[in-house]
């Protein structure tokens, strides 16, 4: 089976000369057919530019973009077998919802009755039946999002590109849409390329994640691999909370030059057998857990202590003893800066 999308040494530079901005630098990436792949990164890291190069809205300045094995680097968007769910949904305000969803079929000159019937089917698929006669302005943000999804799926693209589609929704709706999107992807079997800056979204939905930073792809892997074994310091910090130890502190506590320790792997306990001891500097209450920041061995270490019956967080200024398993420590490549 051929890969759904292959990026072969793709770069994208905006502008010329001294003012040129290198948005994407030499990215190699293969996305398998049927995969839910997420590009994760902070804003301005180049992930949206990568998506736009696959969609055809931005052309790469170097390298090749292959879709379904065919070189599409310089094809216009309407010649590519991919569809996009835009961040602002980009529904056509002068058309009804049904006309919006049926637009790709209208363009392909599908018979009106057939395309309206298909549009209704797609609206039912995104759980939005009976709104076909309304206009986009009459729908809520969440509903518009579903319409955009239906419209992008009706043409049965090889790859669906989703550009931070959940960014504008409130938290509850977002969580609901996350599980719905995932279920939908399994049902239709189309490759999803999802863009987000939200690590929780990336971890909970994806088969694989690619993490972007400053135009470069830092790591590609399953959510567990990326979380448990981040390849770089940036990934360790960006995906989940992390204690990154370096220098003396790292060597004394972990035996590595640079190491990462997830806060939830640290427990407080008795002095005997403790890895280290320190003074509590700050206590933050998060409901499900309490984050305790401890000054120990010349570093500030945070520990996430789960809430539970009889749990009392330590007071700031108290002396505590930190424990963790050997497996909790992950050595990071590269010497400390």
């Amino acid at each position: 089976m051929t890969a759904a999308v292959t990026l072969d040494g793709v770069s994208c530079t905006f502008g010329h000369g001294a003012g040129a901005v290198r948005a994407v630098e030499h990215v190699d990436l293969t996305i398998e057919a049927g995969e839910f792949f997420t590009l994760l990164g902070p804003s301005g890291s180049g992930k949206t530019t990568v998506l736009r190069m696959i969609g055809g809205f931005t052309l790469p300045t170097a390298g090749r973009v292959l879709i379904g094995g065919a070189d599409m680097s310089h094809e216009p968007p309407y010649a590519r077998p991919v569809n996009t769910v835009f961040q602002d949904y980009a529904l056509f305000p002068h058309m009804t919802i049904r006309e919006n969803v049926a637009y790709p079929l209208m363009v392909r000159k599908v018979d009106r009755r057939l395309r309206e019937q298909r549009a209704e089917e797609l609206l039912a698929l995104v759980q939005l039946p009976g709104v076909g006669d309304r206009r986009p302005a009459q729908l809520s943000g969440g509903q518009r999002q579903r319409v955009a999804l239906a419209r992008a799926l009706i043409g049965q693209p090889q790859v669906l590109l989703l550009d931070e589609p959940l960014g504008a929704l409130d938290l509850k709706l977002r969580e609901q849409m996350q599980s719905e999107l995932k279920a939908l992807q399994r049902r239709v079997g189309i490759t999803f390329l999802f863009i987000t800056h939200d690590q929780h979204e990336a971890l909970s939905m994806s088969d694989r994640i690619g993490i972007f930073n400053a135009g470069r792809l830092e790591q590609v892997g399953t959510p567990a691999a990326v979380y448990e074994a981040p390849a770089t310091r940036f990934v360790a910090h960006f995906v989940g909370a992390a204690n990154v130890l370096e220098g003396d502190a790292a060597r004394r506590l972990t035996g590595h030059a640079q190491a990462m320790l997830r806060p939830e792997r640290i427990t407080l306990g008795a002095m005997s057998g403790a890895r280290t001891s320190g003074t509590v500097a700050e206590v933050q209450y998060f409901g499900a857990f309490t984050r305790v920041k401890v000054d120990a061995a010349g570093a500030r270490v945070q520990a996430d202590l789960p809430a539970g019956r009889g749990f009392t967080p330590p007071e700031p200024g108290a002396t505590v003893h930190l424990h963790w398993d050997d497996g909790a420590v992950h050595a990071l490549a590269g010497a400390a800066a």
Binding site: F57, V82, T84, D88, P93, H94, Y103, M106, V107, R151
Partner: protein, 317 residues
């Protein structure tokens, strides 16, 4: 823990008459609304609508042919006179010209407005803006007489045609009935050209504004969903630019209906509505008939707006 001392003492709020007035306006929103709306309402209500109603009332009076005095009796003689051959002709000619000018302005303005809204950037955009606006900075009459010179028999356009060995083409055009004439400056075609030139900016600006308002993601979505440039133009850009085209066409249409100077200076001296009104009220002193005739453009524009609304030109607003 020590408390932070507030060292910055804010002065107590003063309660002068101005402050009391703002308090009053802030708490009584209706009062503010009234203060804001009273001047424009007075202007529109009294000066503008008042004069319009005076016009309407006058159109039902008639002029006594012997004394030259206005007889204030309600009647329909003026409206009957409107159906008279020459008058009907002037009305028909004016509406036809207004339609032709509006169509030409739309066709010319759209590509220019599209370029200005979506492609031009930085200094090119500024330059195009100035090119469109610059004619409006100079006097209407100066531009009109400049065109008279350009279109004259010995003018620049004839000269250019001769240089290009195209005099035969110019003569063929001028020999065409209805639009032709002895020279461009004495032909209906000349009137049309100058009308289009004069009103083009009034079409470009609203069309440009409406195209500028289309988010680029909307056009990208159209391409993404498989539509080529021509489909996107027909199905997305044109419908979304329609309110701008409708607004621009109201300008070009009504300006052409009301103008009496351009056909006076350039053309084959057939009469347009504006000229008839001007002569009736100025030379003949027949204000009631002039008033009745000025209602024609108002009715035509009303019908035009109603049609545009029915056709859905304002749906995307």
């Amino acid at each position: 823990m020590s408390t932070v001392e507030n060292t910055l003492a804010l002065p107590a709020a003063r309660r002068g008459p101005l402050r009391r007035a703002s308090d009053l306006l802030y708490t009584r929103r209706n009062l503010l609304l009234l203060a804001l709306l009273a001047p424009p309402l007075l202007w529109f209500g009294v000066v503008y609508l008042g004069s319009l109603f005076a016009l309407l009332a006058n159109s039902f009076f008639r002029l006594d042919d012997f004394t030259g005095q206005v007889v204030r009796e309600v009647g329909f003689t003026n409206f009957v006179a409107l159906l008279d051959g020459a008058n009907l002709d002037a009305a028909r000619r004016t509406v036809g010209m207004a339609i032709a000018v509006t169509l030409a302005c739309t066709v010319l303005a759209f590509p220019l407005a599209y370029t200005m809204a979506r492609h031009a950037q930085g200094w090119t955009k500024a330059l195009l803006y100035i090119a469109v606006m610059l004619p409006l900075w100079s006097s209407y009459l100066v531009r009109l007489y400049a065109w008279k010179l350009l279109l004259a028999k010995e003018g620049a356009i004839s000269w250019l045609a001769a240089q290009l060995h195209l005099t035969w083409l110019l003569e063929a055009v001028l020999a065409t009935p209805v639009i032709g004439g002895p020279s461009l400056s004495f032909s209906t075609l000349g009137t049309f050209v100058v009308f289009v030139y004069m009103w083009l900016p009034f079409m470009v600006l609203p069309v440009m504004a409406s195209i500028e308002r289309i988010p680029s993601s909307t056009l990208e979505a159209s391409a993404d969903l498989g539509a080529g440039p021509s489909t996107t133009l027909r199905k997305v850009i044109l419908p979304l630019a329609m309110p701008g085209i409708a607004a621009g066409s109201i300008f070009t249409f009504s300006l052409t209906l009301g103008d009496y100077i351009i056909p006076q200076v350039i053309g084959d001296s057939t009469l347009y509505i504006g000229q008839v009104v001007y002569r009736q009220q100025g030379v003949a002193g027949n204000i009631p008939f002039a008033a009745a005739f000025s209602l024609v453009p108002i009715v035509v524009i009303g019908v035009y707006l109603w049609l545009a609304k029915k056709k859905g030109a304002f749906d995307a607003l």
